[in-house]
């Protein structure tokens, strides 16, 4: 087990290196420079000076090696578009916001999705099942930016209950709309998985045995069926978790949440190479780690799986 974890952790290093190199090549292969502004172009002499000051006029291989050396020292360098904050500071300020929002959304998804799916499975082919299906399919079919816009229109403009945007921490009312907007998607996914998995388990021999013992229906479902049905659900939840904590770009943008997803896309469109590379490396590391945790969790959930 320990050898397995160590081996997986060692693999993170070459993976990150490949991600870094590919991203570096790709961003430099795309046309455009950080100072090609569309509204008001900068004078040539000023642009040349900026390129020189940020070493963008060095040959690409030199830029690559210099940047790699800095990253190995833990220095992601300056952001081209923000004079006052370095890449590490921007990531340090925005990742916790996206992570809190993502985790809270995931919590919401579990609390809503799993019971909804279980209810649908237990009341299979009744109106409850149909209503639950309607809710989950709607959740799956509407992208987050549509959900957040609709939630703003409903809660902020029509009812006037919640602000139209902003962020004052996860325990502020401003967090409600983004949590709902992000969490409804995973909630729908979890509900669908719980329902189909529970239906499958319900048909198995040990459930019939449990019923034959004369156990109450609640005990059968909660203690026997649901426990086994949740193995695939937890796997899906893990993967979705990596997705939501790395930032929901549209929701953050539309609801003015200062998260990392917003920085990620802005760094692409603004050609802020150091910021983009820094964020990609952090995301890659997070996804690799979450995948490892998900893989390890199989062993705990299903005793038949062993790692060597």
């Amino acid at each position: 087990m320990t050898t397995y974890i160590l081996r997986r952790l060692l693999w993170v290093i070459p993976s990150l290196f490949v991600v870094f190199t590919l991203t570096f090549v790709l961003v430099h292969a795309t046309p455009g420079s950080p100072w090609d502004e569309s509204d008001k172009p900068l004078p040539e002499a000023v642009k040349q000076n900026l390129a020189h000051q940020y070493h963008l006029d060095d040959p690409l291989p030199k830029q690559y090696l210099d940047y790699l050396a800095n990253v190995l020292r833990g220095d992601f360098g300056p952001s081209y578009r923000s004079v006052e904050r370095s890449v590490s500071e921007i990531i340090g300020a925005t990742l916790p916001v996206s992570a809190q929002l993502g985790l809270a959304s995931m919590l919401f998804a579990i609390v809503v999705g799993v019971p909804l799916g279980a209810l649908a499975a237990v009341k299979h082919n009744t109106w409850i099942d149909y209503v639950s299906s309607l809710i989950t399919v709607t959740g799956l079919a509407t992208p987050p930016f549509v959900r957040v816009s609709l939630l703003i229109v409903f809660f902020s403009l029509a009812l006037g209950w919640l602000p139209t945007g902003g962020w004052e921490g996860i325990f502020d009312v401003r967090a409600i709309i983004p949590i709902l907007a992000i969490g409804l998607g995973p909630a729908a996914i979890l509900a669908r998985y719980t329902r189909s998995s529970l239906l499958e388990v319900n048909g198995q021999d040990f459930i019939r045995t449990a019923r034959a013992k004369g156990l109450s229906e609640t005990a059968v479902v909660v203690r026997h069926a649901l426990k086994n049905a949740l193995i695939p659900v937890v796997t899906v939840a893990g993967v979705t978790l990596a997705n939501v904590i790395t930032g929901a770009f549209f929701v953050e943008r539309i609801y003015s949440v200062p998260g990392i997803g917003r920085q990620f896309v802005d760094s692409v469109s603004g050609r802020d190479y150091p910021l983009l590379l820094g964020i990609v490396l952090v995301f890659a590391l997070l996804i690799l780690l979450v995948n490892l945790i998900v893989d390890l969790s199989y062993g705990f959930l299903d005793p038949r799986i062993r790692y060597r």
Partner: protein, 542 residues
Amino acid sequence: MRNVIALSLLVVLAVAACTPSSSGTPSPSGGAAKKTTLRLPEAAKIVNTMDPGISSGGAGLEQIQNMFEALAYVDQVTGEIKPGQAEKWTISPDGLTYTFNLRAGLKWSDGQGLKASDFEYAWKRATDPATKSRYAQTLWPVKGAEAFGTGKGTADGMAVKATDDKTLVVTLERPAPFFMHLVATWTAYPVRKDTIDKNGDKWTLTKDTYISNGHYRLVEWKPEQSMTVEKNPNYWGENNGPDTIVWTLYDDVATKSVIAYEAGEIDRAVLVGADITRAKADPTLSKEIKKFERQGSQWIVLDSTNPPLNNVKVRQALSMATDAKRLNEVVLKDAYFNAVSIVAPGVPGEKPANALGYDAAKAKQLLSEAGYADGKNWPANVKFTFASGAAETKAIAEAVQGMWKSALGIDIVLEPMEDKAFDNWRTTRKDQPFNMYVSGWGSDYEDPNNWYNLLFDSKADFFYAHWKNPDFDSLVAQGLKEVDPAKRTSIYESADKIINAEAPYITVYQWARFDLIKPYITGLNHYRVLGRIQGYLVRVNK
């Protein structure tokens, strides 16, 4: 079930662990009666920086202007140059030496005295290439500044000198009648050496380090969220504006500010596109709309060296076949002012009579004289290039494509590009051929130099139209040096006639600003040049 509970618990714990200990909202200090707050929207990207010496003047300029003051300022109602930190100034008869006398008792926002040497430091710092200023060229008319700024000279070689605590002497390379406008620009604001030396690039981030000298001073800047300023008690003059100004920062100011405005969260919204039409039809909002003039022009830029547009008659024909009135009023829903001429109205030298105007019959005749009667022999691959993210430019391209087809019988090809790829494409047009694209310019200061010399002189060729006319070049060179205002205007009027007749640019509209402003706000004005809101002029009557 245990697994679910465990996972939920884990999630709760993780949320709690990530939560910062406190995140309070700033509240204006004291409970004194009638504290007023002005709530404004701003673009989330304070694009480069809040450092006046570095800023290129995009988002962030409004905040910088409210917190700093130069030696002189442009009156935001009349456009006159008025004394700011300088009480008065004298200009030597040859127009080369400017001597500024600072007011007595000037202070920084932290109470320390402000000296002429603070200006000397700020000007040299902004010019120093190591500062990475986006607007360094503002001060290049100062003797030795361009050499210093391009790495060929030194700071000591730049002719700006504090001769004592109250006197700043500046010598220019050559006479520049527009120099006082440059003195009023943000690049020429004073900055404090000790805070910059101590905090480096981070001096702009907190209230203790962002020391300013204007009507307001910083309370808090939360990047990508909000910026709050309060009245600066150490400002030399009066400030009857709101006690506090809060800017909420949005990624998409136009869309989000209207929603926040309707929810009552802010006092002003930026209106564009479909929202203008919607607001005009709304019984409440229609009373709160205000349209402001903005000294700028939007054009189709033509490559005047690349066939078939190298033929002046073809350019004239395209210009005269462009129904700019319909373009603005119908296609763009009257979001701007109808096109007048290439240079925006109000700039000395600009003369509406010089414009070619709309005349489809004449256009048809000109095209036929150029050898393309009814579109015959017209090349198949004349391209109109635009950024695909710019919906409005796309609408303009499609509209003129139709207008030219019906009026002249010619076809053009629309070529969309990814936004940054387009910006890059445009940069490389410097020495590469193209047919046409849309761009525009707004005055940084109301002077012909900011248009004729900076943009259209063939040595500058700011938009790479590759247009060159020796008579025009010699006229604008003459205008640059002329000190007599009347003579100067007449020189630029002659130049204006040449550029309009040769049509390297087709004006599609003159810039405008649409705002929604709450009825209890008065004095909120956008001056036609730059047009950022100056808090001290605004009153919050509630």
